[in-house]
Symmetry: C2
Subunit: 262 residues, 2 copies
Protein backbone atom coordinates (compact mmCIF):
# COMPACT_ATOMS: atom_id res chain seq x y z
CA UNK A 1 0.00 0.00 0.00
CA UNK A 2 1.45 3.35 -0.96
CA UNK A 3 0.39 6.91 -0.18
CA UNK A 4 0.90 10.06 -2.09
CA UNK A 5 3.16 12.17 0.11
CA UNK A 6 1.65 14.93 2.26
CA UNK A 7 2.69 18.05 0.48
CA UNK A 8 0.22 20.92 0.56
CA UNK A 9 -0.59 22.32 3.97
CA UNK A 10 -3.17 24.74 5.29
CA UNK A 11 -2.22 26.23 8.65
CA UNK A 12 -5.07 27.33 10.87
CA UNK A 13 -3.55 29.64 13.46
CA UNK A 14 -0.66 32.10 13.56
CA UNK A 15 0.52 32.00 17.17
CA UNK A 16 3.73 30.68 18.74
CA UNK A 17 3.21 27.02 17.85
CA UNK A 18 1.94 27.76 14.33
CA UNK A 19 4.95 30.01 13.70
CA UNK A 20 7.45 27.36 14.77
CA UNK A 21 5.66 24.57 12.89
CA UNK A 22 5.42 26.63 9.70
CA UNK A 23 9.19 27.09 9.71
CA UNK A 24 9.73 23.37 10.19
CA UNK A 25 7.26 22.35 7.48
CA UNK A 26 8.82 24.76 5.00
CA UNK A 27 12.33 23.53 5.77
CA UNK A 28 11.20 19.97 5.16
CA UNK A 29 9.86 20.77 1.69
CA UNK A 30 6.18 21.10 2.45
CA UNK A 31 4.24 23.83 0.71
CA UNK A 32 2.25 26.09 2.98
CA UNK A 33 -0.70 27.13 0.84
CA UNK A 34 -2.73 29.21 3.28
CA UNK A 35 -2.48 30.64 6.77
CA UNK A 36 -5.70 31.39 8.60
CA UNK A 37 -6.04 33.80 11.48
CA UNK A 38 -9.11 35.59 12.82
CA UNK A 39 -6.95 38.72 12.49
CA UNK A 40 -5.87 39.04 8.87
CA UNK A 41 -2.72 41.02 9.77
CA UNK A 42 -1.47 38.11 11.88
CA UNK A 43 -2.21 35.67 9.07
CA UNK A 44 -0.35 37.90 6.60
CA UNK A 45 2.65 38.28 8.88
CA UNK A 46 3.21 34.52 8.82
CA UNK A 47 1.91 33.79 5.30
CA UNK A 48 4.26 36.30 3.66
CA UNK A 49 7.34 34.36 4.77
CA UNK A 50 6.19 31.29 2.85
CA UNK A 51 4.43 32.79 -0.17
CA UNK A 52 1.19 31.53 1.28
CA UNK A 53 -2.21 33.14 1.10
CA UNK A 54 -3.49 34.84 4.22
CA UNK A 55 -7.18 34.27 5.02
CA UNK A 56 -9.47 35.16 7.90
CA UNK A 57 -12.55 33.11 7.03
CA UNK A 58 -12.55 29.33 6.90
CA UNK A 59 -14.93 29.10 3.91
CA UNK A 60 -11.97 30.42 1.87
CA UNK A 61 -9.91 27.35 2.69
CA UNK A 62 -8.66 25.35 -0.28
CA UNK A 63 -10.37 21.99 -0.27
CA UNK A 64 -7.61 20.05 -2.02
CA UNK A 65 -4.80 20.39 0.54
CA UNK A 66 -3.14 17.26 1.90
CA UNK A 67 -3.06 18.44 5.47
CA UNK A 68 -4.95 20.91 7.64
CA UNK A 69 -3.17 21.80 10.88
CA UNK A 70 -5.01 23.54 13.71
CA UNK A 71 -2.66 25.50 16.02
CA UNK A 72 -5.09 27.75 17.83
CA UNK A 73 -6.15 28.31 21.43
CA UNK A 74 -8.17 25.49 22.91
CA UNK A 75 -11.20 27.74 23.15
CA UNK A 76 -11.06 28.66 19.46
CA UNK A 77 -10.50 25.08 18.29
CA UNK A 78 -14.07 23.85 18.83
CA UNK A 79 -15.63 26.73 16.91
CA UNK A 80 -13.13 26.57 14.03
CA UNK A 81 -13.59 22.81 13.61
CA UNK A 82 -17.30 23.50 13.14
CA UNK A 83 -16.54 26.02 10.40
CA UNK A 84 -14.06 23.95 8.42
CA UNK A 85 -15.73 22.10 5.53
CA UNK A 86 -13.38 19.78 3.71
CA UNK A 87 -13.58 16.22 2.40
CA UNK A 88 -10.01 15.31 1.58
CA UNK A 89 -6.69 15.44 3.40
CA UNK A 90 -5.81 14.72 6.98
CA UNK A 91 -6.75 17.11 9.78
CA UNK A 92 -4.46 17.56 12.78
CA UNK A 93 -4.56 19.55 15.97
CA UNK A 94 -1.52 20.40 18.11
CA UNK A 95 -3.06 20.79 21.56
CA UNK A 96 -2.02 18.91 24.69
CA UNK A 97 -5.28 19.45 26.49
CA UNK A 98 -7.89 18.55 23.84
CA UNK A 99 -8.89 14.99 22.97
CA UNK A 100 -8.65 13.59 19.46
CA UNK A 101 -12.44 13.37 19.24
CA UNK A 102 -12.87 17.08 18.68
CA UNK A 103 -11.94 16.25 15.07
CA UNK A 104 -14.32 13.33 14.61
CA UNK A 105 -16.46 15.03 11.96
CA UNK A 106 -13.55 14.56 9.55
CA UNK A 107 -12.65 11.32 7.80
CA UNK A 108 -8.90 11.36 8.49
CA UNK A 109 -7.58 13.02 11.58
CA UNK A 110 -5.09 12.95 14.40
CA UNK A 111 -3.04 14.81 16.98
CA UNK A 112 0.46 16.22 16.54
CA UNK A 113 1.45 17.70 19.90
CA UNK A 114 4.98 19.10 20.32
CA UNK A 115 5.90 18.94 24.02
CA UNK A 116 7.85 22.15 24.26
CA UNK A 117 7.49 25.80 25.32
CA UNK A 118 7.39 28.10 22.34
CA UNK A 119 8.15 31.81 22.28
CA UNK A 120 8.09 33.55 18.93
CA UNK A 121 11.64 34.90 19.02
CA UNK A 122 13.40 31.92 20.56
CA UNK A 123 14.79 29.24 18.25
CA UNK A 124 13.89 25.64 19.01
CA UNK A 125 15.88 22.59 17.98
CA UNK A 126 13.00 20.37 16.92
CA UNK A 127 15.23 17.30 16.85
CA UNK A 128 15.03 17.38 20.65
CA UNK A 129 11.30 18.02 20.95
CA UNK A 130 9.14 14.99 21.78
CA UNK A 131 6.10 14.72 19.52
CA UNK A 132 3.03 13.05 21.03
CA UNK A 133 0.86 11.69 18.27
CA UNK A 134 -2.48 9.96 17.89
CA UNK A 135 -4.70 9.08 14.93
CA UNK A 136 -8.21 7.85 14.20
CA UNK A 137 -7.01 4.78 12.23
CA UNK A 138 -3.85 2.71 12.19
CA UNK A 139 -3.41 3.81 8.57
CA UNK A 140 -3.46 7.48 9.59
CA UNK A 141 -1.23 6.73 12.56
CA UNK A 142 1.40 5.44 10.17
CA UNK A 143 1.12 8.62 8.08
CA UNK A 144 1.39 10.92 11.11
CA UNK A 145 4.25 8.88 12.55
CA UNK A 146 6.20 9.22 9.30
CA UNK A 147 5.55 12.94 9.36
CA UNK A 148 6.64 13.23 13.00
CA UNK A 149 9.84 11.29 12.38
CA UNK A 150 10.90 13.98 9.92
CA UNK A 151 10.94 16.35 12.92
CA UNK A 152 12.46 14.28 15.71
CA UNK A 153 13.33 10.74 16.75
CA UNK A 154 11.27 11.25 19.94
CA UNK A 155 7.84 10.26 18.66
CA UNK A 156 5.36 8.82 21.16
CA UNK A 157 2.07 7.24 20.21
CA UNK A 158 -0.11 7.77 23.27
CA UNK A 159 -3.81 8.15 24.03
CA UNK A 160 -5.61 11.46 24.55
CA UNK A 161 -5.95 10.67 28.24
CA UNK A 162 -2.20 10.11 28.59
CA UNK A 163 -1.48 13.26 26.63
CA UNK A 164 -3.66 15.26 29.02
CA UNK A 165 -1.57 13.92 31.93
CA UNK A 166 1.66 14.85 30.18
CA UNK A 167 0.27 18.31 29.53
CA UNK A 168 -0.69 18.68 33.19
CA UNK A 169 2.80 17.55 34.25
CA UNK A 170 4.29 20.06 31.81
CA UNK A 171 2.39 22.92 33.47
CA UNK A 172 4.26 22.12 36.69
CA UNK A 173 7.63 21.42 35.06
CA UNK A 174 7.59 24.43 32.75
CA UNK A 175 4.94 27.10 33.42
CA UNK A 176 5.06 26.95 37.22
CA UNK A 177 8.84 26.59 37.17
CA UNK A 178 9.09 29.79 35.14
CA UNK A 179 6.88 31.47 37.71
CA UNK A 180 9.37 30.43 40.42
CA UNK A 181 12.08 32.06 38.31
CA UNK A 182 9.93 35.21 38.10
CA UNK A 183 9.60 35.45 41.87
CA UNK A 184 13.37 35.12 42.27
CA UNK A 185 13.86 37.76 39.57
CA UNK A 186 11.62 40.15 41.50
CA UNK A 187 13.32 39.52 44.84
CA UNK A 188 16.70 40.31 43.29
CA UNK A 189 15.45 43.39 41.42
CA UNK A 190 13.89 44.82 44.54
CA UNK A 191 17.28 44.52 46.22
CA UNK A 192 19.31 45.99 43.37
CA UNK A 193 20.86 42.65 42.50
CA UNK A 194 21.10 41.29 38.97
CA UNK A 195 19.09 38.22 38.00
CA UNK A 196 22.25 37.02 36.21
CA UNK A 197 23.65 35.82 39.51
CA UNK A 198 21.03 33.01 39.62
CA UNK A 199 21.50 31.72 36.07
CA UNK A 200 24.17 29.08 36.79
CA UNK A 201 22.04 27.74 39.65
CA UNK A 202 18.92 27.57 37.49
CA UNK A 203 20.76 25.77 34.70
CA UNK A 204 22.37 23.29 37.10
CA UNK A 205 18.99 22.58 38.74
CA UNK A 206 17.60 21.65 35.33
CA UNK A 207 20.69 19.69 34.25
CA UNK A 208 20.70 17.62 37.44
CA UNK A 209 17.49 15.88 36.44
CA UNK A 210 18.99 14.74 33.12
CA UNK A 211 20.74 12.02 35.11
CA UNK A 212 18.94 11.95 38.49
CA UNK A 213 15.27 11.76 39.42
CA UNK A 214 14.01 15.06 40.92
CA UNK A 215 12.78 13.19 43.99
CA UNK A 216 16.39 12.07 44.64
CA UNK A 217 18.07 15.49 44.35
CA UNK A 218 15.86 17.74 46.45
CA UNK A 219 17.90 20.26 48.46
CA UNK A 220 17.10 23.36 50.52
CA UNK A 221 15.94 24.45 53.96
CA UNK A 222 12.61 22.57 53.87
CA UNK A 223 14.30 19.37 52.73
CA UNK A 224 16.77 19.69 55.62
CA UNK A 225 13.94 20.54 58.03
CA UNK A 226 15.84 23.73 58.80
CA UNK A 227 13.04 25.65 60.51
CA UNK A 228 15.32 28.51 61.58
CA UNK A 229 16.00 29.43 57.97
CA UNK A 230 12.38 28.86 56.95
CA UNK A 231 11.15 31.23 59.69
CA UNK A 232 13.75 33.79 58.70
CA UNK A 233 12.70 33.61 55.04
CA UNK A 234 9.03 33.92 55.94
CA UNK A 235 9.75 37.02 58.00
CA UNK A 236 11.67 38.48 55.04
CA UNK A 237 8.57 37.86 52.89
CA UNK A 238 6.01 39.21 55.31
CA UNK A 239 5.23 42.24 53.19
CA UNK A 240 4.57 40.00 50.20
CA UNK A 241 1.54 37.86 50.94
CA UNK A 242 1.61 36.04 47.58
CA UNK A 243 5.21 34.94 47.88
CA UNK A 244 4.90 34.09 51.57
CA UNK A 245 1.91 31.84 50.80
CA UNK A 246 3.84 29.95 48.12
CA UNK A 247 6.91 29.67 50.33
CA UNK A 248 4.86 28.29 53.19
CA UNK A 249 2.84 25.77 51.23
CA UNK A 250 5.77 24.43 49.23
CA UNK A 251 7.99 24.17 52.31
CA UNK A 252 5.28 22.28 54.18
CA UNK A 253 4.80 19.86 51.31
CA UNK A 254 8.53 19.29 50.87
CA UNK A 255 8.91 18.60 54.60
CA UNK A 256 5.91 16.25 54.64
CA UNK A 257 7.18 14.30 51.64
CA UNK A 258 10.61 13.91 53.18
CA UNK A 259 9.10 12.48 56.34
CA UNK A 260 7.00 10.08 54.30
CA UNK A 261 10.01 8.89 52.36
CA UNK A 262 12.06 8.09 55.40
Amino acid sequence: LSHKPLKKIVLIGSGNVATHLAKQFAEKGFVIRQVYSRTIENARFLALRYNALAINALHEVETDADMYVFSVSDNALFQLVEELKINTGIVLHTSGAIGIDVLKKFKNYGVFYPLQTFSKNIEINFKEVPLLIEANTSENLRIIENLALKFTPYVHNITSEQRHKVHLAAVFACNFTNYMYRISEKILNENNLSFDILKPLILQTAKKIETHLPSHVQTGPAHRNDNTVIEKHLSMLNEQADRALIYKILSEQIKRNNIKNE
Copy 2:
Protein backbone atom coordinates in the same frame (compact mmCIF):
# COMPACT_ATOMS: atom_id res chain seq x y z
CA LEU B 1 52.10 44.82 51.81
CA SER B 2 52.46 41.08 51.21
CA HIS B 3 50.76 38.09 52.78
CA LYS B 4 51.93 34.58 53.26
CA PRO B 5 49.65 32.48 51.07
CA LEU B 6 46.75 30.62 52.63
CA LYS B 7 47.91 27.05 52.56
CA LYS B 8 46.81 24.89 55.47
CA ILE B 9 43.08 24.39 55.85
CA VAL B 10 40.88 22.92 58.54
CA LEU B 11 37.46 21.92 57.24
CA ILE B 12 34.63 21.92 59.75
CA GLY B 13 31.85 19.86 58.22
CA SER B 14 31.63 16.89 55.87
CA GLY B 15 28.35 17.40 54.00
CA ASN B 16 27.65 18.24 50.36
CA VAL B 17 29.24 21.69 50.34
CA ALA B 18 32.27 20.60 52.39
CA THR B 19 32.81 17.65 50.06
CA HIS B 20 32.78 19.84 46.95
CA LEU B 21 34.95 22.54 48.51
CA ALA B 22 37.51 20.01 49.75
CA LYS B 23 37.97 18.71 46.21
CA GLN B 24 38.43 22.26 44.90
CA PHE B 25 40.90 23.26 47.62
CA ALA B 26 42.96 20.13 47.05
CA GLU B 27 43.03 20.65 43.29
CA LYS B 28 44.26 24.20 43.83
CA GLY B 29 47.20 23.06 45.94
CA PHE B 30 45.85 23.73 49.41
CA VAL B 31 46.62 21.24 52.14
CA ILE B 32 43.61 19.96 54.03
CA ARG B 33 44.98 19.21 57.48
CA GLN B 34 41.87 18.18 59.34
CA VAL B 35 38.22 17.39 58.70
CA TYR B 36 35.81 17.76 61.58
CA SER B 37 32.44 16.07 61.77
CA ARG B 38 30.29 15.29 64.82
CA THR B 39 30.22 11.76 63.39
CA ILE B 40 33.79 10.53 63.12
CA GLU B 41 32.95 8.10 60.29
CA ASN B 42 31.77 10.99 58.12
CA ALA B 43 34.91 12.95 58.93
CA ARG B 44 37.05 9.94 58.03
CA PHE B 45 35.23 9.33 54.77
CA LEU B 46 36.22 12.79 53.53
CA ALA B 47 39.58 13.12 55.35
CA LEU B 48 40.94 9.88 53.89
CA ARG B 49 40.80 11.25 50.35
CA TYR B 50 43.16 14.08 51.24
CA ASN B 51 45.45 12.46 53.80
CA ALA B 52 43.85 14.67 56.41
CA LEU B 53 43.15 13.88 60.03
CA ALA B 54 39.55 13.13 60.97
CA ILE B 55 38.37 14.64 64.25
CA ASN B 56 35.04 14.86 66.04
CA ALA B 57 35.90 17.35 68.80
CA LEU B 58 36.87 20.94 68.11
CA HIS B 59 39.42 21.11 70.92
CA GLU B 60 41.53 18.79 68.75
CA VAL B 61 41.77 21.42 66.01
CA GLU B 62 45.28 22.49 65.03
CA THR B 63 45.77 26.09 66.04
CA ASP B 64 48.29 26.98 63.35
CA ALA B 65 46.18 26.52 60.22
CA ASP B 66 45.84 29.41 57.75
CA MET B 67 42.15 28.95 57.21
CA TYR B 68 39.21 27.43 59.07
CA VAL B 69 36.16 26.78 56.88
CA PHE B 70 32.76 26.08 58.42
CA SER B 71 30.46 24.11 56.08
CA VAL B 72 27.85 22.86 58.49
CA SER B 73 24.11 23.23 58.91
CA ASP B 74 23.01 26.66 60.02
CA ASN B 75 21.80 25.23 63.31
CA ALA B 76 25.17 23.63 64.07
CA LEU B 77 27.19 26.71 63.11
CA PHE B 78 26.41 28.78 66.20
CA GLN B 79 27.38 26.02 68.62
CA LEU B 80 30.56 25.07 66.74
CA VAL B 81 31.73 28.69 66.56
CA GLU B 82 31.48 28.77 70.36
CA GLU B 83 33.64 25.68 70.63
CA LEU B 84 36.41 26.72 68.25
CA LYS B 85 39.36 28.29 70.08
CA ILE B 86 41.98 29.64 67.71
CA ASN B 87 44.03 32.84 67.53
CA THR B 88 45.54 32.76 64.06
CA GLY B 89 44.28 32.25 60.53
CA ILE B 90 41.12 33.41 58.86
CA VAL B 91 37.74 31.87 59.66
CA LEU B 92 35.09 31.49 56.94
CA HIS B 93 31.57 30.21 56.79
CA THR B 94 29.79 29.11 53.62
CA SER B 95 26.14 29.75 54.48
CA GLY B 96 23.71 31.91 52.52
CA ALA B 97 21.36 32.48 55.41
CA ILE B 98 23.72 33.42 58.26
CA GLY B 99 25.22 36.87 58.73
CA ILE B 100 28.93 37.49 58.91
CA ASP B 101 28.62 38.52 62.59
CA VAL B 102 28.27 34.96 63.78
CA LEU B 103 32.08 34.85 63.44
CA LYS B 104 32.80 38.09 65.29
CA LYS B 105 34.64 36.43 68.19
CA PHE B 106 37.51 35.77 65.77
CA LYS B 107 40.08 38.34 64.65
CA ASN B 108 39.96 37.61 60.91
CA TYR B 109 36.81 36.29 59.34
CA GLY B 110 34.51 36.35 56.38
CA VAL B 111 31.91 34.60 54.25
CA PHE B 112 32.54 32.39 51.23
CA TYR B 113 29.12 31.39 49.88
CA PRO B 114 28.93 29.34 46.67
CA LEU B 115 25.56 29.99 45.03
CA GLN B 116 24.90 26.51 43.70
CA THR B 117 23.00 23.32 44.51
CA PHE B 118 25.33 20.56 45.63
CA SER B 119 24.66 16.84 45.63
CA LYS B 120 27.47 14.54 46.67
CA ASN B 121 27.63 12.48 43.49
CA ILE B 122 27.10 15.22 40.94
CA GLU B 123 30.13 17.02 39.55
CA ILE B 124 30.08 20.82 39.59
CA ASN B 125 32.04 23.10 37.30
CA PHE B 126 33.14 25.67 39.86
CA LYS B 127 34.23 28.08 37.15
CA GLU B 128 30.52 28.78 36.61
CA VAL B 129 29.54 29.07 40.26
CA PRO B 130 29.08 32.61 41.62
CA LEU B 131 30.86 33.12 44.93
CA LEU B 132 29.32 35.67 47.27
CA ILE B 133 31.97 36.94 49.65
CA GLU B 134 32.21 39.28 52.62
CA ALA B 135 34.92 40.06 55.18
CA ASN B 136 35.37 41.89 58.46
CA THR B 137 38.14 44.17 57.11
CA SER B 138 39.15 45.43 53.68
CA GLU B 139 42.44 43.57 54.19
CA ASN B 140 40.60 40.29 54.71
CA LEU B 141 38.26 41.07 51.84
CA ARG B 142 41.26 41.24 49.54
CA ILE B 143 42.50 37.88 50.82
CA ILE B 144 39.10 36.21 50.41
CA GLU B 145 38.62 37.78 46.99
CA ASN B 146 41.95 36.39 45.80
CA LEU B 147 40.95 33.00 47.12
CA ALA B 148 37.55 33.17 45.42
CA LEU B 149 39.07 34.20 42.08
CA LYS B 150 40.99 30.92 42.06
CA PHE B 151 37.57 29.21 41.88
CA THR B 152 35.59 31.38 39.48
CA PRO B 153 35.53 34.76 37.76
CA TYR B 154 32.03 35.35 39.22
CA VAL B 155 32.96 36.83 42.59
CA HIS B 156 30.52 39.23 44.22
CA ASN B 157 31.29 41.30 47.28
CA ILE B 158 27.90 41.85 48.88
CA THR B 159 26.52 42.47 52.36
CA SER B 160 25.00 39.82 54.61
CA GLU B 161 21.57 41.33 54.06
CA GLN B 162 21.91 41.10 50.27
CA ARG B 163 23.21 37.57 50.55
CA HIS B 164 20.12 36.59 52.55
CA LYS B 165 17.95 37.95 49.73
CA VAL B 166 19.91 36.01 47.12
CA HIS B 167 19.55 32.89 49.24
CA LEU B 168 15.80 33.44 49.50
CA ALA B 169 15.57 33.95 45.73
CA ALA B 170 17.58 30.75 45.24
CA VAL B 171 15.06 28.75 47.27
CA PHE B 172 12.42 29.71 44.71
CA ALA B 173 14.67 29.31 41.65
CA CYS B 174 16.21 26.00 42.71
CA ASN B 175 14.55 24.18 45.61
CA PHE B 176 10.95 25.01 44.72
CA THR B 177 11.66 24.49 41.03
CA ASN B 178 12.94 21.01 41.79
CA TYR B 179 9.74 20.38 43.73
CA MET B 180 7.76 21.31 40.60
CA TYR B 181 9.83 18.73 38.72
CA ARG B 182 9.00 16.17 41.42
CA ILE B 183 5.27 16.71 41.03
CA SER B 184 5.54 16.28 37.27
CA GLU B 185 7.62 13.14 37.82
CA LYS B 186 4.88 11.69 40.04
CA ILE B 187 2.06 12.55 37.63
CA LEU B 188 3.90 10.75 34.84
CA ASN B 189 4.84 7.74 36.97
CA GLU B 190 1.26 7.28 38.12
CA ASN B 191 0.23 7.13 34.48
CA ASN B 192 2.95 4.73 33.36
CA LEU B 193 4.78 7.42 31.43
CA SER B 194 8.50 8.01 31.65
CA PHE B 195 9.80 11.22 33.17
CA ASP B 196 12.28 11.32 30.27
CA ILE B 197 9.59 12.77 28.04
CA LEU B 198 9.72 16.06 30.00
CA LYS B 199 13.49 16.54 30.01
CA PRO B 200 13.80 18.59 26.81
CA LEU B 201 11.02 20.89 28.05
CA ILE B 202 12.67 21.35 31.44
CA LEU B 203 16.02 22.14 29.89
CA GLN B 204 14.53 24.59 27.40
CA THR B 205 12.58 26.35 30.19
CA ALA B 206 15.87 26.91 32.03
CA LYS B 207 17.81 27.88 28.89
CA LYS B 208 15.22 30.46 27.88
CA ILE B 209 16.08 32.64 30.84
CA GLU B 210 19.75 32.77 29.83
CA THR B 211 18.71 35.37 27.26
CA HIS B 212 15.21 36.47 28.31
CA LEU B 213 13.79 37.64 31.61
CA PRO B 214 11.42 35.06 33.15
CA SER B 215 8.70 37.68 33.38
CA HIS B 216 8.88 38.06 29.58
CA VAL B 217 8.63 34.39 28.65
CA GLN B 218 5.78 33.10 30.81
CA THR B 219 3.59 30.62 28.90
CA GLY B 220 0.79 28.20 29.84
CA PRO B 221 -2.95 28.08 30.50
CA ALA B 222 -2.94 30.61 33.37
CA HIS B 223 -0.87 33.07 31.36
CA ARG B 224 -3.36 32.76 28.47
CA ASN B 225 -6.28 33.02 30.89
CA ASP B 226 -7.47 29.68 29.52
CA ASN B 227 -9.98 28.79 32.23
CA THR B 228 -11.29 25.75 30.35
CA VAL B 229 -7.90 24.05 30.59
CA ILE B 230 -7.36 25.22 34.17
CA GLU B 231 -10.70 23.73 35.25
CA LYS B 232 -9.92 20.50 33.43
CA HIS B 233 -6.52 20.24 35.13
CA LEU B 234 -8.02 20.94 38.55
CA SER B 235 -10.57 18.19 38.04
CA MET B 236 -7.76 15.82 37.02
CA LEU B 237 -6.04 16.72 40.31
CA ASN B 238 -9.06 16.45 42.56
CA GLU B 239 -7.82 13.30 44.29
CA GLN B 240 -4.52 15.05 45.11
CA ALA B 241 -5.23 17.92 47.48
CA ASP B 242 -1.57 19.02 47.72
CA ARG B 243 -1.07 19.32 43.99
CA ALA B 244 -4.48 20.88 43.41
CA LEU B 245 -3.70 23.56 46.01
CA ILE B 246 -0.40 24.45 44.33
CA TYR B 247 -1.99 24.44 40.88
CA LYS B 248 -4.76 26.74 42.05
CA ILE B 249 -2.61 29.24 43.91
CA LEU B 250 0.06 29.50 41.23
CA SER B 251 -2.51 29.83 38.44
CA GLU B 252 -4.31 32.59 40.32
CA GLN B 253 -1.07 34.48 40.90
CA ILE B 254 0.05 34.10 37.28
CA LYS B 255 -3.32 35.39 36.05
CA ARG B 256 -3.29 38.29 38.49
CA ASN B 257 0.22 39.31 37.49
CA ASN B 258 -0.66 39.21 33.81
CA ILE B 259 -3.59 41.54 34.35
CA LYS B 260 -1.41 43.92 36.33
CA ASN B 261 1.20 43.98 33.60
CA GLU B 262 -1.24 44.85 30.85
